[in-house]
């Protein structure tokens, strides 16, 4: 499938291969090969001379919200630099081209606020119709003995509240919607 990939500020269209090539992969045009070893969680980049560079994946998390075409991929790679050890992280946003990216299938002025954590809604601090400023607390979600505040990412009016006090929420669950001013 073709994907819209954004790395940093640069976005480009990319067809990711059906599967990352396996150990028997065809060489890339420059003679290198890239193979994903799922069980070992290792991406191996093989140089033309056969030397393999191991890129170990510490964590790979894929976030895909129901009803949306966009997919967020977050990968943390471990590799050894000439001096010492480095760990690199990137979040890559993938969207099938032609399809709008996350949240854009909604009315352009609506912003969905989702839970970043799995936990319990301790208290909803706003009501439908309330006007909030950027940074205002919207609700408190408790997880692992900690209270976590959900803040407004921008100013707007609360148009919809999807949860109530005491609700259990999963990561990615929609909490409320804000209409932009």
């Amino acid at each position: 499938m073709n994907w819209l990939v954004k790395i940093g500020g640069v976005s480009f269209e990319l067809e990711l291969p059906d599967a990352l090539p396996g150990a028997e992969a065809e060489p890339l045009p420059d003679g290198r090969r890239l193979a994903w070893h799922a069980r070992q969680r290792t991406l191996i980049l093989t140089a033309a001379n056969g030397v393999e560079h191991n890129l170990r994946v510490r964590s790979a998390a894929l976030s895909r919200w129901a009803g949306e075409a966009a997919t967020e991929l977050s990968v943390e790679l471990l590799a050894s630099a000439a001096q010492g050890i480095v760990s690199l992280t990137a979040t890559v946003e993938l969207a099938a081209p032609g399809q709008s990216s996350r949240g854009k299938t909604e009315a352009v002025k609506a912003v969905q606020i989702r839970s970043q954590i799995t936990g319990k809604v301790l208290k909803v601090l706003v009501g439908v119709g309330d006007h909030v400023a950027q940074g205002d607390p919207l609700m408190i979600v408790e997880a692992m003995k900690m209270e976590n505040r959900v803040f407004a990412p921008q100013a707007g009016t609360v148009t919809q509240i999807a949860v109530k006090d005491g609700d259990a929420v999963q990561t990615g669950r929609e909490l409320l919607r804000l209409a932009k001013d």
């Binding site: 499938m1 990352l20 997880a143 692992m144």
Partner: protein, 501 residues
């Protein structure tokens, strides 16, 4: 006081840790587990297990009647409380004892005496252990304050006696500021809190958190096992500990340690305990409080002394005498502990419970991991976010630090976020490497951590990341050139990898 079967009134890694020491001593273990912990390793690794119905802590691990019921049903004749939960409740000690079982820890009297901060502070003063200097109560007038300032030295902090939330507080750094500050503070105290009572204390700007491990038997014999430095904290939560502290000289270690032992002895303490100090400078360590239980960070002490602290808690409880004196307590090398919490350091440490889909922990020389995680385990959202402790040892602080880097590199947890990357950023900071940091380190270096933890796409675009991106792009460009138009929709291996994860 002899016992054979020990109920562990706790969960997670510390329950497993206790099972191990019990097994070393030929004793049986009984786990208790809540419904949310039905798949937790501590349930399965113990010899016996009893369910505590419900999931909330109040219904389960804090529910004294439920635990006493499990004790009775399982035939256990002793209880180990672990840390947290009921471990410092005198009432629990009394309930266990009344049920005819041995509580592995201090007496409820010693626990309550040391647990009460005012009591404990008085006991410390009595035994010559320094506490934060200040006025005994409300200040009479500016003149009294001036006398105290001369005695204690600057900086000082003035606080409204009934105050809170940062209001009614003033830091004073010179004589000339003293009278105006006292007047302003009194005014605010009256305005906000209805009373003009103001007291003063020495203000500690960049404190170190240093704690001494003590161990006593039931016969009044006690030693300290040196100190731990727990200054790396975020919002008063310890994140990274080491032993010994790079801050103390050997003479200071001996002096503070001896004072800690004397004070605990005066309280009739028995078992393992920790005396926490707040340090303004190596010479100015003030008593803060005593924890009357095993600490999360006890492994770093075990690594530098070779002494199994939980094993000795159990042995002391069954009436054994300490087998060593102060002079026999080794201090060999250096040890560090990184707490692996299921929190995302890049998102303000937001907790992330959930399914652990893949897992690798470090191993090999001079590395230890205490954890209850396994691949396929769902971390429940009801309890603490600490899920593993990665511990290293080295002949020197530098070697322990380099081993920690290696151990963290081998640490791979997929499915939930962890603090692993935070620790890597910490180890890379020159001031941490130099051992010069206070409890405010994380707050002071917020910009540094933010940059290091942001998962900066620029970093990916450079260096190794570039190789991956380039390879993917090169592949794509080539294909794009070959096949002019749209491909049939295909599933990305990345997506699949993500799903497998």
């Amino acid at each position: 006081m002899s016992f054979q079967r020990v109920l562990i009134a706790n969960r997670g890694e510390i329950a497993l840790r206790v099972v191990r020491s019990l097994r070393d001593l030929g004793l049986e273990s009984v786990a208790v587990y809540s419904d949310a912990d039905a798949q937790s390793r501590h349930r399965f690794e113990a010899d016996f297990a009893v369910r505590l119905p419900g999931s909330a802590s109040a219904d389960t691990y804090l529910n004294i009647p439920a635990i006493l019921d499990a004790l009775k049903r399982s035939g256990a004749d002793a209880v180990h409380p672990g840390y947290g939960f009921l471990s410092e409740r005198g009432a629990f000690v009394d309930a266990v004892t009344a049920a005819g079982a041995t509580f592995i820890g201090p007496s409820s009297r010693a626990m309550d005496a040391m647990g009460n901060k005012v009591h404990a502070k008085h006991l410390m003063i009595e035994h010559g252990v320094p506490v934060v200097p200040g006025s005994k109560g409300a200040l009479k007038d500016a003149a009294e304050l001036q006398r105290l300032a001369t005695e204690i030295g600057y900086p000082l902090i003035l606080k409204a006696a009934n105050g809170g939330g940062g209001r009614g507080m003033r830091v004073v750094r010179k004589d000339i500021e003293l009278a105006p500050a006292f007047e302003a503070c009194t005014r605010e105290a009256i305005a906000y809190f209805g009373s003009g009572d103001v007291f003063c204390e020495r203000y500690i700007e960049d404190p170190r958190h240093i704690e001494f491990q003590v161990l006593f038997d039931n016969y009044g014999n006690g030693v300290h096992l040196h100190e731990r430095d727990c200054s790396i904290q975020r919002r008063h939560q310890k994140l990274f500990e080491e032993a010994p502290s790079p801050y103390l000289s050997d003479a200071q270690r001996q002096k503070i340690g001896a004072a800690a032992v004397a004070a605990a002895k005066a309280a009739g303490y028995s078992g393992a305990g920790t005396i926490e100090f707040i340090c303004e400078s190596p010479e100015r360590a003030y008593f803060m409080e005593m924890n009357t239980r095993i600490q999360v960070e006890h492994p770093v002490t075990e690594m530098i002394t070779g002494i199994d602290l939980i094993g000795w808690q159990i042995r002391v409880a069954r009436g054994e005498k300490l087998a060593f004196q102060q002079k026999d307590v080794p201090l060999r090398g250096w040890s560090m502990e990184a707490r692996i919490n299921a929190e995302d350091p890049a998102k303000d440490f937001a907790p992330g419970p959930g399914l652990v889909t893949a897992l690798t922990f470090p191993a090999g020389p001079f590395v230890r991991v205490d954890t209850h995680l396994y691949a396929g385990y769902a971390i429940p959202s009801h309890y603490d976010s600490m899920v593993a402790k990665v511990i290293t040892w080295g002949e020197t602080r530098d070697e322990a630090m380099r081993r920690m880097s290696r151990a963290l590199m081998e640490t791979k947890v997929e499915g939930v976020p962890t603090t692993t990357r935070f620790h890597e950023a910490l180890l890379a900071h020159p001031e941490f490497k130099a051992g010069t940091f206070s409890t405010r380190f994380i707050e002071q270096k917020a910009a540094y951590f933010k940059e290091k933890l942001a998962g900066d796409p620029a970093a990916l675009a450079e260096g190794v990341g570039a190789l991956v991106a380039a390879a993917l792009t090169a592949d794509e460009t080539q294909r794009g050139a070959d096949h002019a138009s749209a491909q049939p929709p295909r599933d990305s291996a990345w997506r699949r990898a993500g799903r497998e994860a």
